[in-house]
Symmetry: C2
Subunit: 247 residues, 2 copies
């Protein structure tokens, strides 16, 4: 009888062409499906909570899949982890109720974005942070974080190319704080995210941090519902999908 398995997955996005399976390209979904198909001796298709772009990392991506097997989830987890040589690891594997769906049942997602803010080039941890040379105005950036709280239309921060019924999302938490070693961390939790939304927000918040736009102009950009008004997309390698929450 088919069982529904839930996976929590950590990966270093550096060496992947993102989450979603693509022909002839190494993707997280593709590698996990390959391992599962080999272990379970049946074709397995996993559904992720959403895509992550090439280069984006994850501590807690969630996926589910159906398989007809009696193998214990702990054993399956160990099997996948020993089979995959790339920087991806299953952190949790369990059987859940049939109707659970990693994408449709997600009530919120948490992302973090790390910036190294110093004049000198980035050396240690350069695969995990965006290097910005000019000093950033943390106060202005924190104000932007407050502005995006609540149920809002994020069309200005949506890149084209992904189908969705609405560009309204609810942001539950959003803040920026300093970390050790000239780094700053943007944390955001929302009901869902549009394509490139965190990276587009980050790119525009950084414009406010560089005082290239005022906080009032940030509000205008949000209200314009026009992607061309907002800042550039921040690089993928500073972004981490931290957690997917379910009710």
């Amino acid at each position: 009888m088919n069982k529904n398995f839930k996976l929590i997955i950590e990966y270093d996005g550096t060496h992947f062409f993102g989450w979603q399976k693509q022909k002839d390209k190494k993707t997280v979904q593709g590698e996990i499906e390959k391992a599962l198909t080999r272990i379970l001796n049946q074709k397995v298709k996993i559904s992720g909570s959403g895509r992550t772009d090439a280069g984006v990392h994850a501590f807690g991506q969630v996926a589910n899949f159906y398989a007809d097997t009696n193998i214990l989830p702990q054993k399956l987890k160990k099997g996948i982890n020993s089979l995959i040589k790339d920087p991806v690891v299953i952190r949790e594997c369990c059987v859940v109720e049939d109707k659970f769906h990693a994408r449709y049942n997600a009530v919120s997602k948490e992302y973090r974005y790390v910036i190294l803010n110093r004049e000198d080039p980035c050396v240690i941890g350069r695969l995990y942070q965006w290097h910005i040379r000019s000093p950033l105005d943390l106060k202005a950036m924190k104000q932007c974080c407050q502005i995006i709280l609540g149920k809002l239309d994020f069309k200005s921060f949506e890149s084209t190319g992904s189908p969705r019924s609405s560009s309204i999302r609810e942001v539950f938490f959003s803040d920026i704080n300093p970390l050790e070693g000239d780094r700053i961390e943007f944390k955001i939790c929302a009901s869902g995210f549009l394509k490139y939304m965190v990276r587009n927000l980050m790119g525009t918040i950084v414009l406010a941090g560089l005082n290239k736009i005022s906080v009032n102009e940030f509000v205008e950009i949000l209200e314009a519902r026009d992607r061309t008004k907002a800042g550039a997309t921040a690089p993928a390698h500073g972004l981490f999908l931290k957690k997917v929450n379910y009710s």
Copy 2:
């Protein structure tokens, strides 16, 4: 007239064969000397505060060198940083008094060692931490940290191959604490370090953390003044030279 320049250097040790210049191998010292020789159009030899082994990282390695030049230190710093494409960066460059010597004038050095302590394989940041699967007893490890405080003979934690007049060193600070994300951090500050001393200490403290030796046995190992009694050398890639202090 010859000036004495002091450098503070950060590097990711992953791609280097350590600090010290070696023929036909990429080393931090070698790359900096190459850049300096090219910029200053004269043969330059730099003296580091001490060697770091292949794979060991540094946030604050210190070196000095003499050169006959009128170039401003800030310009020299930028020149080196734009010339070196490897993960090494000059954080500070200044002219100091003639008698300053990065190695002989150092009064203490600070190291940190990072362990990822979880059953699952290490994925994000795997170049910067030692992965240990079995749970570590932090209390026992903290006790070991207390034992090595003070002026002691660290012969049991010294690997052979480096000339030194005495194996007595003074440890000013030593502690282990948890970090975010299943990681723990060993911090140590001492008057100086013997060859592989931090890594040999770490390898033996981990034995106590795994309850393979008791804290009393750790004391016996220290007192034995015999390298063969202590644990294995911890891997290089978890180690960071954090700071070199001068009076």
